[in-house]
Symmetry: C2
Subunit: 175 residues, 2 copies
């Protein structure tokens, strides 16, 4: 199973503008790219805050991904919302989550944030690719792409314009 | 006079790798780009730490820029190193520094860091362009491109490969 981190950031690496939750700064071109990319994936993993922000802000994550796994320290609190095989809440570690999805036959997993989840899965060596939309903005503060120190080497696979000012960069993670 | 911020960063916006000073992580391709770009400029502005790190790490900033201005809170301490019209130390504000260079006939100013200087000059609306080399690395920590919150809108002017994995992105600052 392939694991792809998908995110949109400012040029200087922030996935939120200052303390405003969500990616409201993302261009229409990025949103279209995101909607078009998701059907390639049969599962998605995200943190609880990302999940709740997405739900609060509209249907962006009411998405065509068949199976969603939400990381939370308190999965019991979300038991009423859970739908087995479609929307799961778990406090399991990254390796266990990925192993379970793989053994269930999933082929492509989208890692959808936030910074804690990115860092956790990258540090565990579980991410194969990074698809990063770079918006033409400098924020100087906000939620960073990774929630803490790491040292990950990448290989650029492609770079393309989503619109006149927005770039989509695709990297493979070096092992 | 045109003011161009020139920097090299990790994909996630750090101009140092964790707490290691300097841009030792920069690719050979970025170093070649930097050396090739500097002769376009007749002056350069940088912070004291950037100046001292560059000097300690070799001749990178013993560069073909005719006139260098180093920002420091204590210019008096550097009086012995100063060379009028070639290497100046100042505690003046960004607007005053730029006005002086412009009135002295300078045409192109390279802004060479670090994060405090980037933020100071961007916040003052004194930067015309951002030339950013993006290395295929994720650090999750280090000196950020901007030392604190800002909200700067950019226009992408060009994107090009410096080598197979390193991108050079050139932006104009929107006014």
């Amino acid at each position: 199973m392939r694991v792809v981190l998908i995110a949109v950031q400012s040029l200087d690496g922030f996935i939120t503008r200052h303390d405003r939750p969500g990616a409201g700064f993302a261009s229409a071109a990025d949103q279209a790219h995101f909607r078009a990319a998701l059907p390639e994936f049969d599962c998605a993993v995200m943190g609880r805050v990302t999940f709740e922000t997405a739900h609060a802000s509209g249907p962006a994550l009411a998405n065509p991904v068949r199976r969603r796994v939400v990381l939370t320290r308190t999965p019991g609190r979300h038991a009423a919302s859970a739908v087995p095989g479609a929307l799961e809440f778990t406090s399991a570690g990254p390796a266990e989550i990925i192993a379970k999805l793989r053994s269930d036959g999933c082929r492509a997993c989208a890692l959808l944030g936030g910074g804690q989840v990115h860092r956790l899965f990258l540090a565990a060596g579980l991410v194969d690719e990074v698809w990063l939309t770079v918006e033409p903005r400098l924020f100087g503060g906000g939620t960073p792409l990774l929630a803490g120190p790491a040292d990950v080497a990448l290989e650029l696979r492609s770079h393309a314009l989503l619109d006149a000012n927005t770039l989509l960069l695709k990297y493979a993670v070096r092992r």
